[in-house]
Symmetry: D2
Subunit: 407 residues, 4 copies
């Protein structure tokens, strides 16, 4: 268990921190303001990204701070999960900043799917532009009619018909669907409900301009629509795509999804740590400068104990994340199921709690998007469902325990 960031990782981190100071923090406020003032939710089709983002992306790419998540040395930076962890944490300190380094969900997961399982043609058509952030992608899994935390409930059908694949169904909470550059969806559906439980699903690439693709609306988390990507509801009304759009074989969708939902999905845990650290820092700063009842807020009532508990929680969640990253690198995802599930529960919950505390310290201001706290809170709250409900992850951890001691 050597959690020491490698020389390489430290060097990246140092450059990333400089870049954040020079490019990211200075525009954080105007970025939030841009979306507040320009992106009205009833008119989501007119959403625009903050004008400064394009330049930041170019410079991040030039600085080699690009596709940091991808372990491939040619297309990404060749960093291990453990090496990537402190970088993801750093990006997580500013809401949405990961996107400016092309390290944001769901594009990262989709790129990983295409990288590992895509054909050469699929890679050329979609992976390469995604790696350049020329297009955006979405991932369509959750469905409104069923409890999608159990993937066997999924009802969207993906069936072959001649040289084509026909997709029919309704998906929602498709992150990034509202983005001006959104171009393609990876859709998970069922091909054969009679097949064994884990061989029923297929995964297929669907261009968003295909006939029968209907975007119904953007959805909000609390009241927030999260432009410029958002999260949307979409109908696939007998959409036809060529067979070449199938990812691997019919029936292999579940296995790919499991792979996709594994390592790719602890990136958000790392970002949660950065966000939590930032929230605590903000709370400490504000509580030292504002006074009430004759003392700085920091010294009032149980505030100092809450700060201490937040520090301890953050340190513990960081250690667990690093340990999980290390274990994935050393022993593979399949041998790290309990740890991955654990961190998926802990990280968003710690972020939610720390942000809740920071909000109390900030008063009303902390609830609004004057500060990034409310974005962090929503990020945390949404993650407690988005990547599988807390309860499902706890079930995974329990299952591993039962295996150990109840033979």
């Amino acid at each position: 268990m050597d959690f020491n960031p490698s020389k390489r990782s430290q060097e990246y981190l140092s450059r990333l921190k400089e870049f954040m100071q020079a490019e990211v923090y200075p525009v954080e406020e105007s970025y939030l303001k841009h979306h507040q003032q320009n992106n009205s939710h009833p008119r989501w089709k007119e959403w625009t990204d903050y004008p400064g983002v394009a330049g930041i992306k170019t410079r991040a790419q030039e600085a080699g701070l690009w596709n940091l998540f991808l372990p491939d040395s040619k297309w990404g930076q060749g960093l291990s999960v453990l090496e990537y962890a402190p970088l993801a944490e750093e990006m997580g300190r500013v809401y949405n900043a990961a996107e400016w380094f092309n390290c944001n969900a769901p594009d990262t997961g989709n790129m990983e799917v295409l990288y590992h399982f895509g054909t050469e043609a699929q890679q050329e058509k979609w992976l390469h532009p995604l790696l350049q952030s020329e297009i955006k992608s979405i991932f369509c899994m959750t469905e409104p009619q069923v409890a999608s935390s159990d993937a066997t409930n999924i009802e969207t059908s993906i069936v072959p018909e001649g040289d084509e694949i026909v997709i029919e169904g309704r998906k929602w909470w498709s992150t990034g669907l509202g983005h001006p550059d959104a171009a393609v969806a990876i859709v998970l559906g069922k091909t054969n409900p009679e097949a064994p439980r884990h061989q029923q699903h297929s995964m297929v690439l669907v261009p968003l301009d295909a006939d029968g693709v209907k975007i119904l609306r953007m959805q909000n988390t609390f009241g927030a629509y999260d432009p410029p990507g958002g999260h949307g509801e979409i109908i696939f009304d007998k959409v036809r795509v060529p067979k070449a759009n199938l990812i691997q074989d019919l029936g292999s969708g579940f296995a790919i999804a499991q792979g996709r939902l594994g390592p790719g999905r602890i990136h958000h845990c790392m970002r949660c740590i950065g966000a939590a650290e930032r929230a605590l820092e903000m709370a400490l700063l504000r509580s030292g400068t504002r006074e009430a009842f004759g003392r700085p807020l920091a010294r009032l009532g149980g505030n100092s104990e809450r700060f201490a508990k937040a520090r301890i929680a953050i340190d513990q969640v960081r250690l667990l994340t690093l340990f999980t990253a290390w274990k994935i690198d050393q022993h593979g995802v399949k041998n790290s199921l309990s740890e991955i599930a654990a961190i998926k529960v802990v990280a968003p919950n710690v972020l939610q709690e720390v942000t809740d505390l920071a909000m109390q310290i900030h008063g009303g201001a902390g609830l609004s998007d004057d500060f990034p706290l409310s974005s962090f809170f929503m990020q945390a709250r949404a993650l407690r469902l988005a990547d599988g409900p807390d309860e499902v992850h706890l079930g995974t951890v329990a299952k591993q325990e039962f295996k150990k001691y109840q033979p």
Copy 2:
């Protein structure tokens, strides 16, 4: 301690429930949709209320389900705090519905101020139209520059100059400021910072169309702007009003605020109970009909225990609220400080927890405004600050304990 709702109260409750069934629940969804689709936050000046609201108000007034909060028999319905409790709970089951019975904050608190402390002229000009819901009012207390949970921090100045009062300062989180019918603000400010701690403040009525009143923007809680009333930031730039707009005397502002913030402000606790009850009901219904991993959600993992704990928490918070209402009625606000503070902590926290649970059960849908859950959650989260931070209320409870045992 007789918590039994009086015959009167039971009769009101029975009529209110019928009215809710006939008029309120049926429009709940279209009400939420109306605001989603029409009220874009960057254009808050164009906000409109749901068209059906006017009719509901008329019929509520005709049915005598109007101004239920006001203990006066002529202007209100003459109900005690305890008698009002189950009615407020019932209205709390639908987000914003209290407004349709003219029982919403901050109008209720403002009406109470005018009722108890207003001159006849003030009452005629502002109280009477408020009692008819012809105009809307706001209450300006919190300021961006200071920790306003300690009222002595307030910096807005209210000073006499000849026959006029001059108001200068900046306020925010003024609830209802964005409403199309918002007409008048009650402003709390300082007249004499050298006076004894509780005699420094004054309260004055300021028409929103007075010279120097500048509404800067609407503010959001998480991403939600809460139309058609919203919460806004406002500048009073050397605003002049006649002395007749002063509520009581110069220097009496703090005392009035204390009175205003007392009984008026446990109404929201009652509403929280209704909202929590509704959230639990929704969770129970959904978890009984949706399945995952071969069982209804209700039977999975710790869900049933969480439901049990929610039921217990709701029952306990209702009992504490009824007890506090009873104590206010019997022994007055001054002898109920600990109980009032207690319920202000417990009620929003229970609502937040129960709603959080219900959201987990609903999946992504529970986070959006497809369901009222997210509104309940924001209501709870905001109340943990809006009516004084949890921490300040806990301080009040502790203070009363110290008095008892540490002479």
Copy 3:
């Protein structure tokens, strides 16, 4: 919902408080010391009660503060559950004091069983001396081999043989078994494992001097043996008693147990409130007089918030207990299942938490039996299992919720 203690109840409470002041508090310390110094656990057969107890009992009986729990006006004081609640709370303030008023478990439950279901002969032989505290009784339910929280697991057999009943089995955690005056056990066992689930059990009276009764040992909670009654393990080795010792019929044991475990068992919840109130009072007193780091403990860190939360928790649990008592009185046990289960979870947990807090305030002293805190803590911790595990009660509450909303 009138929780007001009746005139009668108030009058009893006032006399009880006087008695506590005059007789109970003054001996509390020497009572604890007596057991510390004289009652060595390896020699439990030599246990003695504190010499002063006999006199207190006589005077309590003379004062009419005797058998307060029994609703019968001739044998008890004819108080309703709600009327008894504040009295039980008051007795709960001193560990074991309920016994001095003949209001202690398991004698109360046993007396209720005999009162409601016993024959005249049984009442004369056992109920009358129990009502005089001339003898002590135990209740044998839990068994070491099985999860006894599910009564259908019980293995002890109670079978008729001619004119006799033969009892065979092993029981433990039989409270009061070590008492010098312990004379009789009510034993729950199975007569017919093939009968319908709730008609398999019988209940029988077994004198402790019957052949085949073997007391194995006293058991401890943490390290405490709780003299002079204790909790013990006992073997019934083909014990024979006359058929007249059967309580009601063969097969009616489960129904009686349900009745017994219902109302009788919320008495301990009432006592928990008194104990919690006492623990908080002690914490407040001590934290006001001891200093560290230049301030009284009460003002350090989060202590004041913890006191506030303890106050709120105690007030809420009292209200829930009164409400449950009222509901039992008005609507019967069968219609109060959810409330009874709720209070059985909440009351011991609140006591455990408040005592834990008080212990932190008292430092090491709080852990030992120099103060009653450790007894309160063990009482709470044991109750979370003794009267059915928390988890079983939460299951009962959930079941009632499901019934309401998931038809």
Copy 4:
């Protein structure tokens, strides 16, 4: 951050595990029984150790599994804090087993004091026999009259008089005082209350057979007296010892105590992890074999979620402990104050929670000393005060945070 146990450490761990299997687990039950049956608390002067312990110690010493805590290669095994961590965890799995490897508090801390600060004569007289477990030592710090968590409150006086040192005062909770082999006390007292805050104290060695040393009694935690060492109250009534018994100089007591209470005291955190792991293991085993309501306990209600949370908590506390050990090794105690304080809060609390859960699973049995759970629980509960209250440690963590962000 390389947490990997070194080859050396792994090799020790492997041998230790074998030794535990061969020597320790097999006698665990009879060890508990011995104390239950033979060591009556009112007669603590007759306490005896379990007869098998002497042999185990000899064999542990022969196996080189002796004084593992001491970083010195000659007197101990030369292991770093990080190398020792997994060994301490392993020993922690059996209550009191650390003593059989001469790794128990307070002897370890006392040996460290003598090792670092003792004169050659002191080392020969006391350190060497302690290293052989020929004698036992106690540490006298806490006093009944004052809040000793603030060391400046201490009242015991240690003053020079001619060639002697005179000690006068009362101490309690002196662990090990009841041990048949207890021979010497290290006493912390005040020499000069007028000196600067951290130069007032002195530390002195006092043989327990010195004139004026009076052991008043053994104290209990809950009801447990923890033989054969126990925790006692002691009076120093004008006790005179030669000046040579002074540890370092007059006035250096506080500095030594700080050093003593630092690294030595995270050993108990390591042991807590082993105990928690054991408790969880026991809960998993039992819940898989016992059934209620038709399912194994493991599958009932929220049990599986609680197991998952326990697993996560244990993994997190282990990582934090290893990290702290690593940081102490690499950067010294002074640079690890926040981490040391953090783990002192977290480790006992996790143990308390996990044991509480395991007790619920075990039913009544879990509360008694039939199982080691109750010992683990008391260990946890006592540690939350014994090594400084939770609240003081949280204060330390908060202080470090304030330093970072509130300059």
